[in-house]
């Protein structure tokens, strides 16, 4: 007999084969990290079933089984390999196997050149991801499956990273999207992640087999794969047991005494050590003193209404919770609620208000304010008069507890917000970039995965003796760190304490990026639901070495602040729905596609009783029929118009297709002119959109490269469909030299991406793809060099003709850049004349692409600011100036110059916002440098990270906070 055991990240599977290689036993269980216990119990079950069996062959597989196998000297086979063994036996005609596990995702290509792919450091698109997302919807994974079955439509959700996806889903829910549609979108995101992340250019065709938990249990996930791949995949009966079976069927034939082995595994506790930190508390007495100290920071929560019955309402519709308070004129809390938000905040607030009216008959809600992600929808639904940006709400509340407050940190469900306060105004804001958010809800999901309630889980770490040191990177990656800790024998207490510390370290070192806690401030207020956990609070105080204030209503601060704000800013008569109106309250959600422009935004139209409407999902003001005063002063729009003005010319020598991506957003005028002069008809690829991206997704070899680069795969596919005579996209180590830096390189991705396209897009083999190395930085050498290159593809072109075309091209490029600068100046003058704020929206030429910038330029205009670009202002600072980094990339030199321009302008109304594409390694350097240039002049640095999907809600908060901090606009 042979026993195969598969120790996965969350489950344990076991299969027994008899001597004729027939399976005679199988068992499947979640192990909650108690691997040794569960494994020995499983062996006991086997011995109970086969009492005569004394010895048997044993082989372990699975990512979490490696340690066990090594330490106990039991044969081990890598799990993908085991899968392959089993598939070969049972499904010999399979072409491709897709196996999703708890934290692993794998694709095996069996026919043709055998290849196996596994997810690397990213946990997106796995069972853990689906679990996390289901938790967010407040359903079980199987309920999520049922929901998806009834869905009508799917939204785009970032699947690369659970944290990104969470933001997207939250935004969708808050905008009133249907749960079933979100469920389907989640499953589609998993499919998309698996294909983009693992197939990496290889097509999935033929007989496809689905294995592993998620694909076994979720029929809709299989359906989603079928749809996307255009196949009819099969999920065999024993789909959960393939790894275990493969382990049993392997070549290992060492026999073990089963009784002895069971004992040995039972006694096994890993003797490995792991990196640990100091305990949170040395003893219970220290904890008591800590509790007593924090008990002092309170505000009355059982206030009464006075004879006027006047009260103020504050609602904080946050990402995972809705908080609402009513305060009396003495600013005491009369009534409050902290409600988990499993999607739509509207019914929660309605219930809250009904409770208020029931409990306090005759109450007069003089004014009300809403804040948080759901600010707009709540404001519109219930007739609140004020919407206040979260940052201001929190500051207002914090001042109440500590009037001298100079630093506030709020860790909520999925956001970290920190701000510095100087002279009574918000001086600097740090919001988490999308990649490190989700801290609070991460603790929660993790607690759930280990079978605990969140509070119990956090509490059990309070007295942990050796908390695991889990580091400070993105929380999603912590899955595997925890896995490692478990392997090394860390107890649940120590893991809990370690996670609390990580949440804190993330906030400090990733978001605020402090090096010295003393620089945070002297009067620190901490708040947000996550700080209600004493372990997190303690970890924070220990990390910064300072006592802080945690208001007793830590989780309600946003709502309390909104109420205080409403009280201070009331305009008079309240329109808040009364008790009768609440009874007849209706909320109707419709989804429509806006056809205002090529974005085709999917809008959710919320209609409330009384006709109030709230539209969400829009990227611009068009469907709202509002008009922003600065919409016409958006340099992004102007640059796009300029590019669109280059029309295809006459065709004497052939048609050349140019993909509109990366540096070609700037060099299109150059190449268009050059080739048009030579008698080529030049056509660009169509504008980017999601569909175009998906068209090329299957050929992307590196899933961590930036989105702008990934888009090019789609552009090439789109160009190929137009069948030009050649596609031109040159490699360029060097960019145009603007003499503003130490060198004039392109970044490696911009420089060489054509190489990647040629290597991975099969269809290019049959096309003429010109991707030679070209140096525009040497205008004198250029004509000769390009002439030789073109001669490889076309009939020779006389040098004189090439020279003339090159001259025209250089001239046109200069003219093009000149137009941008002139228009920029015009906009700056307009802003100055009309006292309007200006945002220098700085990035790279390709940030012009709507699919890359997600309409952030328009959003800024909606906030009432004029938008100019870095390449419109960079020359205004004159000559080369010193920087503290090696200034060697042309595009980046512009960023530094733009920052200097803003700083030297001395005009508070002119500010810089930097767009950074996720995965841009170079911006790790430029971001810091731009920040230090700005901060040297006391200016605020704002960075917006963008990826496939952008959470415009968060961007809006950033922008409003920025304007609020500057005392500009709303």
């Amino acid at each position: 007999m042979k026993i195969g055991m598969d120790v996965g990240s969350t489950t344990l599977k076991c299969v027994v084969y008899d001597d004729e290689s027939r399976p005679v036993f199988g068992e499947y269980e979640r192990h909650f990290s108690q691997i040794a216990e569960k494994a020995s119990t499983m062996l006991e079950h086997i011995r109970a079933k086969f009492p005569d069996l004394k010895t048997a062959g044993v082989c372990i597989s699975g990512s979490a089984g490696m340690g066990l196998a090594e330490d106990l000297d039991i044969p081990f086979v890598q799990e993908v390999y085991a899968t392959r063994t089993a598939v070969k036996k049972y499904l010999p005609d399979a072409d491709v196997v897709i196996e999703l596990g708890g934290e692993d995702a794998k694709i095996l290509f069996l026919s043709g050149a055998m290849e196996v792919r596994m997810n690397g450091s990213c946990a997106g698109g796995t069972g853990a991801f689906i679990d996390q997302m289901a938790t967010l919807l407040n359903v079980t994974p199987s309920e999520l499956n049922d929901l998806a079955a009834t869905s009508q439509r799917s939204y785009g959700i970032a699947s690369r990273c659970g944290v990104f996806a969470k933001s997207d889903i939250q935004a969708l829910l808050n905008q009133g999207a249907q749960k079933n549609d979100v469920a389907l979108s989640i499953l589609n995101a998993v499919v998309s992640q698996t294909i983009a992340g693992l197939a990496q250019g290889r097509e999935i065709t033929g007989k496809v087999v689905y294995l592993g938990g998620p694909l076994t249990f979720l029929s809709q996930l299989r359906a989603a794969f079928d749809r996307e791949l255009g196949v009819q995949g099969v999920c065999p009966d024993s789909s959960l047991y393939f790894v275990a079976a493969g382990a049993a069927l392997g070549r290992e034939d060492r026999e073990f005494d089963l009784e002895e082995l069971t004992q040995r595994i039972r006694r096994y506790s890993s003797s490995h050590s792991y990196q640990s930190s100091e305990p949170l508390f040395d003893d219970p007495a220290q904890y008591e003193a800590f509790q007593a100290r924090h008990a002092q920071d309170t505000v009355s929560t059982d206030g009464h209404l006075d004879e006027t019955r006047q009260a103020y309402l504050g609602v904080d519709a946050g990402s995972t919770t809705v908080k609402a308070v009513v305060i009396n004129p003495a600013e005491e809390i009369v009534f409050s609620r902290y409600l988990p938000n499993s999607g739509n905040p509207v019914p929660l607030v309605r219930e809250f208000l009904r409770d208020v009216y029931r409990q306090f008959p005759g109450i007069r809600l003089v004014s009300g304010a809403s804040t948080g992600y759901g600010e707009e929808i709540i404001k519109n639904a219930f007739g609140l008069e004020i919407g206040v940006v979260e940052t201001i709400a929190h500051f207002t509340a914090a001042k109440k507890f500590r009037p001298q407050v100079d630093f506030i940190i709020d860790i909520g469900g999925q956001d970290i917000k920190c701000f510095k306060i100087k002279n009574g105004a918000i001086d600097n804001i740090f919001l988490n970039e999308a990649c490190s958010s989700g801290c609070g809800s991460f603790l929660q999901t993790f607690a759930g995965a280990l079978g605990y309630e969140m509070q119990d889980f956090a509490r059990c770490g309070l007295f942990a003796d050796h908390p695991v040191d889990l580091g400070s990177r993105c929380t999603v990656f912590m899955n595997s760190s925890v896995k490692q800790a478990q392997k090394d024998g860390a107890s649940i207490e120590n893991i809990s304490a370690g996670l609390s510390m990580s949440v804190v370290k993330n906030a400090l070192y990733k978001v605020i990026r402090v090096t010295d806690a003393r620089t945070l401030g002297d009067h620190i207020v901490v708040q947000g639901g996550t700080f209600l956990n004493d372990a997190v609070l303690r970890a924070f105080e220990k990390e910064i070495g300072k006592d802080v204030t945690r208001p007793s209503i830590s989780g309600l601060m946003g709502a309390y602040g909104a109420a205080l704000y409403a009280k201070a800013h009331t305009a008079g008569k309240s329109k808040i729905l009364g008790p009768e109106e609440l009874e007849s309250f209706t909320h109707d959600v419709r989804t429509v596609t806006c056809n205002g422009c090529q974005n085709h935004c999917r809008l959710t139209v919320n209609t409330f009783s009384g006709g109030a409407r709230y539209i969400a999902g829009n990227r611009c003001d068009k469907p709202l029929q509002k008009h922003s005063p600065t919409a016409a002063y958006n340099l992004y729009e102007y640059k796009k118009q300029l590019l669109a003005s280059y029309q295809p010319g006459e065709n004497r020598r052939g048609v050349i297709g140019i993909p509109m991506g990366l540096n070609l957003f700037e060099l299109y005028p150059f190449w268009h002119t050059f080739f048009t002069h030579l008698g080529f008809r030049v056509i660009p690829s169509p504008p980017s959109d999601r569909k175009l991206y998906l068209k090329g997704q299957h050929t992307i070899p590196s899933d961590t490269v930036c989105y702008p680069a990934k888009l090019l795969h789609g552009h090439i596919e789109a160009l190929l469909e137009q069948k030009p005579d050649a596609i031109f996209y040159p490699c360029m180590s060097y960019n145009v030299d603007e003499h503003m830096g130490d060198n004039h390189y392109n970044c490696p991705v911009v420089a060489y991406y054509p190489e990647v396209l040629d290597a991975n897009i099969t269809a290019l083999q049959d096309a003429k793809f010109i991707y030679d190395y070209v140096g525009l930085h040497r205008p004198h050498d250029f004509p000769g060099k390009i002439q030789a290159i073109l001669a490889k593809y076309f009939d020779p072109i006389p040098l004189g003709e090439v020279k003339a075309a090159a001259r025209a091209a250089y001239q046109e490029y200069e003219a093009h850049m000149g137009r941008i600068r002139a228009k920029g100046q015009e906009y700056l003058d307009y802003a100055r004349a009309n006292d309007l704020p200006v945002i220098v929206l700085s990035g790279r030429p390709y940030h012009l692409d709507n699919e890359i910038n997600h309409g952030i330029d328009k959003l800024i205009c909606e906030c009432g600011a004029v938008v100019v670009t870095e390449d419109a202002v960079n020359t205004l600072v004159g000559k080369k100036f010193p920087t503290t980094v090696l200034n060697q990339w042309t595009y980046h030199a512009r960023l530094y110059a733009a920052a200097k321009f803003v700083r030297d302008s001395g005009d508070k109304r002119i500010n810089l916002v930097q767009l950074v594409s996720f995965g841009c390694g170079v911006d790790a350097i430029t971001g810091d440098e731009v920040r230090s240039i700005l901060e040297a002049g006391g200016r605020i640095y704002t960075q917006i990270k963008i990826d496939e999907i952008a959470n415009l809600g968060a961007v809006r908060i950033r922008m409003r906070s920025l304007f609020a901090a500057l005392g500009l606009g709303n």
Binding site: Y509, C731, A924
Partner: protein, 415 residues
């Protein structure tokens, strides 16, 4: 332009009593280089520190999205400065600077930023570069020093190569490692006497070294042969790659890690390619041609020495690598490891190391192109290729990395 006015120079006076703290990369090579520098009167402290604290220091002082090599080297230096071991007014730091179009040219500036954050910006930082990016009156790369350094790197390549090919088979465990140590000491002694760095001497020592490894008693059992390529720091540094060479050894593999000399030739040759591709000054060309010729002589001797013993696999010459690269990628692709990385994969597969670990820091920009981006093409040329890309960063766990490598090895063993 980078702000050089505010830079603290390493002066001639400092040379007398300052200790230069050096981050580590390739342990054998750097040990030899350290000894070369010491023979020229510098006090060098080559860091051998490891552990999580280094990563934590890095995370604290370097933007967390910066590449892992920067994070580790700077973390290692900051960790040393905080150790209390040094008089902070009597130390200098050193960092290499390649001057290419990737982020690596900025490490030194990131280090200075880190020092500034900590109020330690009075500590001089020396740039070790061949591009004339920064200079210091107290630290000059003289011709004799360069010649010894080049010899040292070549010795490092040979020792690493022979160790990797002997250790898995040695009948008495530990003999190869001991022999490496023995040679490092012996060569250091010779450098101090001004010996062992001329072409002729180097050739003789190559032969002696090779002979000494060939003399180690071995038992040739069949092993999986694994090649390691990657971003230069992660490829060599055990701190960064979680002891990859040792791990592969523990899994019963024979490992081949292409040497540093090829990378040096590549960097020089790039300048020639630039001129060829974009035009330029032929005078510059002559110096590069000369350097390339000089490096190539060492390479030729190294290969010849190894080839004398059929049990050893010699590396292919740079010229052959370049020929291989030409089948799949352009010579203009030069940032980071550039086309050389792709060529190394191909050469390894050709010479029997068909299993390749391609290492890179998470999000390494050049490796999107020359590593992961080229795997598909390499596989078309060599269908037997079994390549696994592995990302390294502060949060990537060893379990995950080793699991992926084990998968590759399972495929290697099972076909």
């Amino acid at each position: 332009m980078a702000d050089n006015n505010a830079r603290v120079e390493f002066t001639r006076e400092m040379k007398k009593d300052y200790t230069i703290i050096t981050p580590n990369m390739a342990p054998i090579h750097f040990e030899l280089i350290k000894n070369v520098l010491e023979s020229f009167g510098y006090r060098i402290d080559l860091l051998r520190t490891t552990g999580r604290e280094i990563v934590d220091e890095g995370l604290k002082y370097v933007h967390n999205d910066t590449c892992y090599p920067a994070l580790l080297s700077i973390g290692q230096l900051m960790h040393a400065l905080h150790s209390g071991k040094y008089d902070l007014h009597k130390v200098a730091l050193i960092m290499t600077q390649t001057g290419g179009g990737c982020r690596a040219s900025n490490y030194i500036h990131l280090l200075r930023k880190a020092l500034k954050k900590d109020g330690l910006d009075y500590i001089p930082v020396i740039s070790l570069n061949l591009s004339g990016l920064e200079s210091n009156s107290g630290f000059k790369l003289t011709l004799p020093m360069l010649r010894r350094a080049i010899a040292a790197l070549t010795y490092g390549d040979l020792l690493m190569l022979l160790k990797n090919q002997t250790k898995p088979y040695e009948t008495t465990p530990g003999q190869s490692d001991a022999l490496v140590q023995q040679w490092i000491e012996q060569l250091t002694g010779l450098f101090e006497q001004g010996k062992a760095f001329t072409q002729r001497e180097v050739r003789e020592h190559f032969d002696r070294i090779t002979a000494s490894f060939a003399a180690i008693p071995v038992e040739k059992t069949p092993k999986s042969k694994v090649g390691v390529v990657g971003e230069i720091y992660v490829k060599y540094s055990p701190l960064a790659n979680n002891g990859l060479e040792d791990f592969l050894f523990s899994q019963g593999c024979e490992t081949m890690v292409p040497g540093i000399l090829g990378f040096m030739i590549f960097k020089v040759d790039n300048r020639l390619e630039d001129i060829r591709l974009y035009g330029g000054n032929p005078a510059k060309k002559q110096l590069c041609e000369l350097l390339k010729w000089y490096f190539t002589k060492f390479e030729t001797d190294l290969i010849a020495s190894v080839q004398k013993y059929p049990q050893f696999t010699a590396p292919a010459p740079y010229s052959h690598l370049k020929e291989l690269a030409g089948k799949v990628i352009g010579y203009g692709c030069k940032m980071g490891e550039g086309w050389l990385l792709t060529a190394e994969m191909m050469e390894l597969i050709e010479s029997g190391y068909r299993n390749v670990v391609c290492t890179q820091p998470f999000g390494c920009l050049p490796n999107h192109i020359v590593g992961k981006g080229m795997i598909r093409k390499v596989r078309t040329v060599y269908p037997q290729a079994n390549i696994v890309p592995i990302d390294y960063d502060p949060s990537a766990t060893q379990v995950n990395q080793e699991n992926r490598i084990k998968l590759m090895l399972a495929v290697a063993a099972g076909g």
